[in-house]
């Protein structure tokens, strides 16, 4: 029983990590219908921004919530700027091109950041500065709950609620929904489409920045290829839950985390990676729009 609870907690924590990254994918997809493959690399750059920033300001000398907030801020700013640049220089020129071109450009940007990252940051894994001390919040026998785990899960949930509120109940959200519905009509209604898309990328990239710092604190090893694996899995999680849907992203992430953990716990640890994709394919075949996504019927 104790072991089962431990596995459950592990899975939930892992799921929260996936959920947090998945929210960024969902945000951009919801508006542009573009799988932003570069999201995982923005996440990687966010981690390095935190790494260089925190080391430069020597934040590890006084670890605490202040240092943590400062690291988070640096990462978010760098990610937002990077997200804006990617949108402006890589995606915007292709706004009216076929979707496939945008998708390939996204893959190109992702590869570019990965390889440029290896040149700029070096390929050696780096240790992420502990700007906040992890500690045990709760312990019962061998089971324990760590501060970082709770933080990641709650940030993911808060982000989910915040995004939902933003999209559904604010003027910006209304503009985002209008752009998502149709570029042309939105333009005709006097909405600044480029502005709205820029805002979307800022929000999406900020989420990547937040996730980067939180995850890097939990698993303090960062390297230029760190985005790939988590990006892929988080993306699968987003599709699983229904891409474009915030609750779906969190649900998908947690399902992914839990099922991976349970495979390791009760089947074989070598099946872990195959499972993510197996689950994805199963869901897409049974319910192509994902768990909470809405099915769009194509009309003439």
């Amino acid at each position: 029983m104790e072991e089962f609870v431990q596995h459950l907690l592990n899975g939930l924590n892992l799921g929260a990590v996936y959920a947090l990254i998945a929210l960024g994918y969902t945000m951009v997809y919801g508006v542009l219908q573009l799988i932003n493959f570069a999201h995982s690399e923005v996440y990687m750059v966010g981690a390095f921004a935190g790494f260089y920033g925190a080391n430069f300001l020597r934040l590890t000398d006084k670890p605490g919530w202040g240092a943590f907030a400062l690291t988070l801020l640096m990462s978010v700013v760098v990610c937002s700027v990077l997200g804006l640049c990617i949108e402006r220089f890589a995606y915007r020129p292709l706004r009216n091109a076929p979707k496939l071109n945008a998708l390939i450009t996204a893959i190109g940007v992702s590869l570019f950041l990965q390889f440029a990252g290896q040149v700029v940051f070096g390929a050696t894994p780096q240790f992420f500065p502990q700007v906040l001390e992890d500690r045990t919040l709760f312990q019962a026998g061998a089971i324990q709950i760590q501060l970082f785990d709770v933080t990641i899960l709650s940030v993911a949930l808060i982000a989910m609620a915040g995004l939902h509120y933003l999209i559904q109940y604010t003027r910006t959200g209304m503009a985002i929904r209008a752009v998502s519905f149709s570029f042309r009509s939105a333009t005709l209604m006097g909405i600044n489409v480029n502005g709205v898309i820029a805002v979307t990328f800022i929000i999406g990239s900020s989420l990547a920045g937040i996730a980067a710092v939180l995850v890097a604190l939990k698993y303090p090893k960062i390297d230029p290829l760190m985005g790939m694996l988590y990006g892929m899995k988080a993306f699968v999680a987003a599709v699983l839950g229904g891409i474009g849907n915030f609750r779906g992203a969190v649900l998908g992430g947690i399902i992914m985390g839990l099922s991976e953990e349970m495979v390791v716990a009760y089947l074989s640890s070598s099946l872990r990676d195959a499972l993510a994709f197996g689950l994805l394919i199963f869901i897409l075949l049974v319910r192509p729009s994902g768990l909470l996504g809405q099915m769009k019927v194509e009309k003439v």
């Binding site: 091109a97 040149v119 699968v236 599709v239 994709f277 394919i281």
Partner: protein, 331 residues
């Protein structure tokens, strides 16, 4: 109507041309060093991969991101077969190799059927994701199968002598181009393109779109598998690390660079993408161990998409051969 008699309007001439070209390349390659030969092999294999993927991505308009997976199925099937089984005796050993390639192709085609059947109902991005997922699953399966070497890889796979291997590889590449060319210029080809242009309209015209898509997918997988088996024969070793998502992306890049829906474009794309990283190798000497090749390569991809999204050729062909069937009744 009267067809002008032309050297290129029947299959026989096409085959003669392919065979002559394969021998010509092989003869020319004999004076070259093994490294250049290897590049020539890779070019032929990549031509097969790119043209076959173009059938699905370019002509049929379905975005597949799992070509490396089918290549892996063919490569491992061909390699395992060649390690266990040789129908022809030693002195006719050359004849064994096409059998392995066909076996690899058939295994990949079967995998293509299994993958395509359920997933081709999906569209656009979703199809891309599912094919990506299947590609990864195939790779992870190989990784976990001790019988095919697992993470250690498979070594000492039999290969042909240089000259025979070169002829063999180029015969396959030529055959792939020829067969695909005939296919896309047939009524099937028009069905593929109608699915690409407008699925609903195609459906209204009485085309079973799912079945047409699955057919394209199976044919495409066959050639990817054959290319994989050839790959195994020329490198003599296999490793699951070769068949990652990145390999699939490479093939997509070849197709997009040449132009979606242009077979000659795919050929040019395959040649350029194979040669470019090799041509940039000397750059390393100036950058002091820092490898900028992949940075340049990815940047070139982004620029290509922005500046010339239709690729080098668009959907046009470099040379427009016409294969025409003799009509039963002239008009």
């Amino acid at each position: 109507m009267n067809d002008k008699p032309s050297l290129t309007n029947n299959m026989f001439v096409g085959w003669v041309f392919v065979i002559a070209a394969a021998f010509a390349v092989a003869l020319a390659a004999m004076g070259l060093n093994a490294y250049v030969q290897q590049i020539l092999f890779y070019i032929a294999i990549n031509i097969m991969l790119a043209t076959s993927l173009n059938l699905v991505n370019g002509f049929c308009g379905q975005f597949s991101l799992g070509h490396a997976g089918f290549m892996a199925v063919g490569a491992y099937t061909g390699a395992m077969l060649s390690l266990k089984f040789a129908p022809f005796p030693e002195n006719l050993g050359i004849l064994n190799f096409p059998i392995y390639v066909i076996a690899g192709g058939l295994a990949a085609a079967a995998a293509g059927f299994l993958v395509g059947m359920p997933s081709l109902r999906l569209r656009g991005d979703y199809l891309a994701i599912v094919t990506l997922g299947f590609g990864e699953i195939i790779r992870v399966t190989v990784l976990n199968t001790e019988a095919v070497g697992g993470a250690r890889g498979l070594y000492s796979i039999p290969g042909n002598t240089d000259f025979a291997a070169c002829v063999h590889v180029y015969l396959w590449a030529g055959a792939t181009i020829l067969l695909l060319w005939r296919l896309v210029h047939s009524s099937y080809g028009r069905a593929f393109m109608s699915v690409r242009e407008d699925e609903i309209a195609a459906e209204c015209m009485g085309i079973n779109t799912t079945s047409i898509k699955v057919k394209a997918f199976i044919i495409s997988s066959f050639f990817a598998g054959a290319a994989g088996a050839l790959f195994a024969q020329t490198t003599n070793s296999l490793n699951p690390a070769t068949f990652t998502f990145v390999k699939s992306v490479d093939v997509v890049i070849m197709v997009v660079l040449g132009g979606m829906g242009s077979l000659s474009g795919s050929v040019v794309g395959a040649i350029l993408v194979t040669i470019l990283p090799e041509a940039l190798r000397p750059l390393q000497a100036y950058t002091g161990g820092v490898d900028l090749r992949m940075v340049i390569y990815s940047l070139a991809l982004i620029l290509l998409m922005i500046l010339r999204p239709q690729g080098l050729f668009g959907s046009r062909e470099w040379v427009q051969f016409r294969f025409r069937r003799p009509r039963a009744t002239g008009s």
